[in-house]
Symmetry: C2
């Protein structure tokens, strides 16, 4: 995303050290599955085993792994430890990445308390908030610091990843500050579309959207042949008034 190689339009850009985005999104799942197998004392696994553990089909898994190189052994399978290292290296989690979290409210607290990041290659180096009442609060072995200190922290700790858990309103401002400070990857939880310059990657997590996608399919299930057909085209004046369905941008 954002980081297009060099826009060569010609041939399919064969393995120019580039892995398809869909594959990149699955590598962490494979990594998790391999770690689970490893923890169970399993030393070798076939693509079938791995695929089952990762919840995908085995052809897809093999093709995904083939982008990294030939790390399996025909007739045998994959060495769990070896493959785990190769995937970790490819993703980049053999090193630790410094992360700041901005907005230590409900969600920020939960993330700050979460132990799972440290074991997966990420180190939270600061919890930032603009609310003076929060600054100074201790969470685990960290302390909430003033958002104004962002720039010095980013520089001192070489922070490249920022997590935004503020309300939607200030999210774009916070994002701009992060980018200006030198952060080049952002994970956004606020329900708003953030714009960033080229070279900065952004991903979003929106729980309401996930629920709405489930609701869509849920509606299909019940309505398969049961519900009385919903009115197709209610007159444009006099809509059944939605009590703010869809939700505003509000916190």
């Amino acid at each position: 995303m954002t980081r297009a190689s060099s826009r060569r339009p010609g041939p399919p850009t064969r393995t120019e050290r580039g892995i398809p985005e869909a594959t990149v999104a699955r590598l962490p799942v494979y990594l998790r599955a391999l770690t689970a197998l490893s923890d169970s004392g399993i030393a070798t696994a076939s693509s079938e085993d791995l695929a089952t553990a990762a919840g995908v089909n085995s052809a897809k898994l093999r093709k995904d792994l083939s982008y990294l190189g030939s790390y399996g052994t025909r007739g045998v399978g994959y060495d769990v430890e070896y493959l785990r290292y190769q995937i970790a290296r490819e993703i980049g989690v053999t090193q630790d990445w410094a992360v700041v979290i901005v907005g230590i409210g409900n969600l920020g607290h939960a993330l700050a308390n979460y132990s799972g990041f440290g074991t997966r290659g990420f180190r939270i180096v600061a919890l930032l908030d603009a609310d003076p009442n929060l600054v100074g609060e201790r969470i685990g072995d960290m302390e909430v610091r003033d958002f104004a200190q962002l720039e010095e922290i980013v520089e001192a700790d070489r922070v490249s990843i920022g997590v935004i858990t503020t309300p939607a309103g200030p999210a774009q401002d916070v994002c701009d500050r992060l980018v200006a400070a030198g952060v080049t990857s952002i994970l956004n939880f606020a329900p708003v579309v953030l714009s960033v310059p080229d070279g900065v990657d952004i991903r979003k997590v929106d729980l309401s959207i996930e629920l709405q996608i489930l609701a869509y399919h849920e509606q299909r299930k019940s309505g398969e042949a049961a519900l009385p057909q919903v009115p197709e085209l209610p007159a444009m004046n006099g809509l059944p008034d939605l009590p703010s369905v869809g939700g505003g941008v509000g916190a």
Copy 2:
């Protein structure tokens, strides 16, 4: 089979009341953008306006909307309220969906405190946990209840959506219980692949995976031509020992 009227393999099964999955995933984003425009007092918007607000390109937006019907006016654009209602109806959030949350730890608390669900068509009807110390705790206007009460709650409140925020270990068991109780859509936050029977939809949110995807691209940025090439094939014996990179299944 060959001549059966269902499962026609020929043409792309033109609009058999089916909307492409990629489009379904964007409809909530459009809904949010429309709500924001509506709140700003804007009554009409062109596909270009809407696309900007939603962070997509306008051709894609128009094509997405065309799956729902012809709700725009050529030369003018879309009536914001009208389109908002149509999308809300298509997604199914003109009605309220009952939701239970299982596992009221760090993340469960954050979700329980979140006001954004109610305004988007979802009603949290129960917070469930297996820990007796948590049962009875008040969060907002709700009280944590015993997980054992799951079945009666699902039946009483016609719950169709369940959210899992337990540790990875018990997640599959919790999932099975939810399904057995009648829940047919599940949103899973535990870092583990859950298996469900046909007819049950499942979506996952995994923050570590999001961070790892960012890390992959981040690595590419710095390594574009700078880093000394990482050793391509370390000997299979004597791997640089990862201090549990990839993270176990542990909570």
